[in-house]
Amino acid sequence: MKKLKKTLIYLFLSIATIISIYPFFWMIVSMTNKSVDVTQGRQLPGTYLFENLRQLFDQVDIVTALTNSAIIAVLSTFFTLFIASLAGYGFQMYRSKGKDIVFNILLLSMMIPFASIMIPLYRLFGRISQTAPIIGIDTLAAAFLPTVTTAFFIFFFRQNTKMFPKDLIEAGRIDGLSEIGIFFRIFVPTMKTTYAAAAIIAFMNSWNNFLWPLVVLQSPSNQTIPLLISNLGSSYAPDYGMIMSAITIATLPTALVFFFMQKHFVAGMMGSVKG
């Protein structure tokens, strides 16, 4: 009876594993096969990898899309970490009644669905375009500016600041550091793992963001990777081998980050719930 139960558990887990991993397997195998072979259900690696990649680089501007996505993701991650950690530190280290109230009001923004502010944001950036076209509609800046400051990350940094030893701050003050100096010279270097965890989540969010870039980026030269894949995916005669190469390339950065920084990855995810 006990043995049966154990067998069932392993069977169940194996099936779950196959279902979880199969789409990745299929994606990678299809990248190496001709489109015709993919539609015929070929499950073995083929020899068409370089041809697919050549097609991809010839037919669609994936280099531009990768560059745009990378620029947006890097800047977005930098600003998210900078702005949110300043605020998280400020709310926790300089606590006052007023700040607690403001913090709770900011938290309310987590309940606001993006779809409901998308049109006003589009109008806002339309107006910005008239005075500062460099950050207006259809610019890379517009693709990340409204999404870099989120209550989630402020909350995340505030929670983590609670574990930061206050003695270090006093020591800094005695050494004559300014308040902002303490933040940059003591807090930031001490909290490296917190920053790493936040960076992973911020990078992933930005790299995978679809709806807002779809709204605000219009010209092909500003296309990001998710927009490019969505376009390829909706073509009437899809070249499966080529599309799977694009998807694999798009998935690679986040998959690598996950495998090499699993601990920080999970810490970042959990950051929103721990006490």
Partner: protein, 290 residues
């Protein structure tokens, strides 16, 4: 005393950028959307139309379909995923289980994919000549391929399966870390009292995990109410409008059909209201059982 107020104002400087940015990019747009919901027209030629947009809500077949679809996804997908995630986490929490780390990583792996990328993969896997149809035919479960994507019912099933694939492992991680905080001796005591594993699960695990189950239910609910990437990339809302989500309808109203920002803004308030109501209900339900 002077130093104290000084520190307090320095503290405000630290939080200043965030307060300005969130006000500008969240709260102001919410206010603008409210104003827009009383206007009609396009671009700069907006005019106030009173409650026209709001009364149109009551008589909009597409919105009705979008609400039905979103609720269908919500009622089936969220419970299915939470139960599965709980189940996996309890099994994987057993320290005697072999290959624990491998199973955990494998089941979590879908969470690293981008929503657009996995949606396109699912669309192809479930196409008429796709791998799922080939598998079902080879197993003699069906004789003719099923048109998953163009059938109103199957298309919803595919969307639900896809979302479940992407998020089950993600939620499992939350439960696993919460399970590690439960004292093993509680289970020992229950076993001595003669409770079987199912009873232990219902009477110990579920109550202990209640806060985290509530948290994941609320985040999943908010996520499903905002569903966009999957529907757009798997079915584009089709066949017809049979799988359209509210977010997609807002997008279509603003950028695909003849742009109508005023009405789109009104529809967007439907999501806000739903998020608030459902979150309150979930809090209440979780609170009452205590």
């Amino acid at each position: 005393m002077k130093q104290l107020t000084n520190k307090n104002s320095i503290g405000w400087l630290f939080v200043l950028i965030s307060v300005v940015a969130i006000t500008l990019f969240y709260f102001y747009p919410m206010f603008d959307a409210l104003l827009l919901s009383f206007q009609s027209g396009m671009g700069a030629n907006l005019e106030y139309v009173g409650f026209d947009n709001w009364s149109r809500l009551l008589n909009d077949p597409t919105l009705k379909q979008a609400l039905i679809n979103t609720m269908t996804y919500l009622m089936i997908q969220v419970p299915l995923m939470i139960v599965l995630a709980l189940f996996f986490s309890v099994i994987l929490n057993d320290p005697n289980l072999k290959f624990r780390g491998f199973f955990r990583t494998a089941i979590f792996l879908p969470a690293v994919t981008s929503l657009v990328a996995y949606s396109v993969i699912f669309k192809y896997m479930f196409s008429v000549d796709g791998i799922v149809n080939q598998l079902l035919i080879n197993l003699n479960l069906i004789s003719e391929p099923i048109a998953f994507i163009s059938d109103p019912v199957w298309a919803k099933v595919v969307i639900i399966l896809a979302i479940t694939w992407r998020w089950t492992g993600y939620n499992m991680i939350f439960y696993l870390s919460a399970l590690q905080n439960i004292d093993r001796s509680i289970y020992e005591a229950a076993r001595i009292d003669g409770a079987n594993s199912f009873q232990q699960f219902i009477q110990i695990t579920i109550p202990m995990l209640k806060p985290i189950i509530l948290f994941t239910t609320i985040t999943s609910t908010i996520g499903t109410l905002q569903l966009f990437d999957e529907v757009v990339n798997i079915t584009s809302g089709g066949p017809g409008i049979q799988t359209i989500s509210i977010s997609q309808y807002i997008y279509d109203l603003s950028f695909k059909y003849t742009p109508n920002f005023g009405y789109a803004a009104t529809v967007s308030y439907v999501i806000v209201i739903l998020v608030v109501i459902l979150s309150i209900i979930q809090f209440k339900v979780a609170g009452e059982k205590e």
